[in-house]
Symmetry: C2
Subunit: 412 residues, 2 copies
Amino acid sequence: MQQMSGGIDRLTAEQMDRADPLAATRDRFALPPGVIYLDGNSLGALPRGVTERVAEVLEAEWGRDLIGSWNTAGWIDLPGRVAGRIAALIGADPDEVAVADSTSVNVFKLLAAAVALRPDRRVIVMEPSTFPTDGYVAASVAQTYGLELRWCDPADPLAAVGADTAVLSLTHVDYRTGRVYDQVQITAGAHAAGALMMWDLCHTAGALPFDLHATGADLAVGCTYKYLNGGPGAPAYAFAARRLHSDLSQPLTGWMGHAEPFEMRRDYVPSAGMRRFQVGTPPIIALSALDAALDAFDGVELAALRAKSLQLTSLFIELVRARTDLEVVTPLDPERRGSQVSLRHPAAYGVAQALIARGVVGDFRTPDIARFGFAPLYLRAVDVWDAVEQLVQVLQDEEYARPAYAVRAAVT
Amino acid sequence: MQQMSGGIDRLTAEQMDRADPLAATRDRFALPPGVIYLDGNSLGALPRGVTERVAEVLEAEWGRDLIGSWNTAGWIDLPGRVAGRIAALIGADPDEVAVADSTSVNVFKLLAAAVALRPDRRVIVMEPSTFPTDGYVAASVAQTYGLELRWCDPADPLAAVGADTAVLSLTHVDYRTGRVYDQVQITAGAHAAGALMMWDLCHTAGALPFDLHATGADLAVGCTYKYLNGGPGAPAYAFAARRLHSDLSQPLTGWMGHAEPFEMRRDYVPSAGMRRFQVGTPPIIALSALDAALDAFDGVELAALRAKSLQLTSLFIELVRARTDLEVVTPLDPERRGSQVSLRHPAAYGVAQALIARGVVGDFRTPDIARFGFAPLYLRAVDVWDAVEQLVQVLQDEEYARPAYAVRAAVT
């Protein structure tokens, strides 16, 4: 295993790990033995402490203290507390973030709010390469409010933004390629056209710094089950800049967004700020898991997180280019790269499956992408080195062509 | 404690419990000692097995098997499996129910679907005494689609339904009074006017039988954290009769409602049936807790559940009327009564707080209602007897007037 490859041998990777200022955060996760997990961009690993926290919520807060826990355990404030922790990771103030519902539902709420803020503009602009749910929901918002959904050229989204544009909505890190938009330049361009700017941070938060304040973004949305490690189907978040709060409205006017939910009034009066993006009764068990998971970020500098992420993706790219002839779809320029690397192969599904059989868990994105995510809190340079070693074997032996890897599973 | 009261002494209550065919289901719950829990209509007690199931999901499925659990642990089908179990409790077929999001979000989806099914009708009718979130969301749906929300007289809702009415939406059991609507007669009346009928079953499912097929209902919604014991903020459900499925559309077009979510197509194609009411990535931890919780209903006949519920509420009413002068707000006619009893007192908040201090947990509903829910799976006749004994003490000593009980908590 100490063989040379592309000028970097495994010993060098080990040395990188010894010098890693984030080396200690790996112990904050319960990682299964024998697995190199390169799919944290789809479902982050289980942080230690989550199981214990959830058990406490179930047995003591729900089981023993029952309904009283809404007050005594602070359940009613849990969405706000978690929102504050996420705000710190995306350059927002605590009261500018709501944690509620799913990304899809929050895209609906935010886009509806956006078009209501620009009633004289009739167009929502989005890139066709967005994660599909954003596009599906944007199309529905456009249909619901009698507007147009305009697809932009992902290489030049501002070209589609004009005086008719209410909001430009882009995903900061492309889920398929890992390409990163220049958030400052694009936000400024949208504003210059009088449009609002909304960012989907699903593949950003927890791996890349994104300063919503510095960017001047108006709206943002994201999930918490990728690099934030909140667990499968964990609650999502929504951001709106405070300067917009007094005029913000959204159509999912559930009781938890009411200014006085327990007064049981007949008419809806929205709560101040982002609390009006709360809808139904908050999912306490899932929120508690997420809250405990966020402990993994305690004391972590976002700049160090980004440096580690780029170290890992750069090493992976360098080794792949040295040892295989696969096309690297992800930008080679670190500035333009998220925390994932995507490789093109005509049998990409088989490549991903053969790697999983070898203990290297990445995933497949239709039609021909094998995708590898690098969660900087728990991956090491040696993991990258070992993963590429396995990839080389899969390619050399053409394992991807085995019949067992031909039939796609229900979830890919 | 064996004193007589209203002709029924505690020994008689004990005899009722010995003859109770549902006596054994109490052991399916982890009930705290020293507490008589009469708030299962707000948050059901913790069923045994939930903690173990959730720990398994966290440690083995998420922690060890990671992303693969979408396939290997069947996460992707979990919403459908849970939907099938809830369907059995509300007289629906498994594919007529979706488990997703919150009640509020599902009210939005279903009312939007309803008005799209009746494009020539411009009115949503709802009772003003509904749980507020239904009304808030209905008002938003009306505003979004340019319709009218018309409040009906709760005593005669059909009087407000006419040729202009797209949908009549009622809550089967009034959350404040426990009054039950005649679901067959009202559904038929709505249909006679050409309107769709939607039922909110939040205070019904798990305590009262409700046969959606026999009723002929079109749509229904409900939460799972009350009598279904799914845990705080557990996912909600939505029902639509199969005869409507081919024409059903709803505006929250997230990827999990797509016919082929993992093909990542740009355009939304709704899945068949109720799967199109799925929106975002399903909340696996919460769904697993709910799935385990529903084990408590295994082998339980709904008729026996209703008989037990009425035995408990009738006993409570009889004892309250014999031993106090409180007004019973809930209908005395068992046919018109849900599984709760509400009492009126000018210091109802203090009454509820004084009882909680004595280990009898009910709750308060503004302005003057002390509300007691009777979860038939885990409550006994002796619990009812003991609760009334404590109530009598609270009233005799005017404990409700103590200053400590004057300040309302954040959540009531």
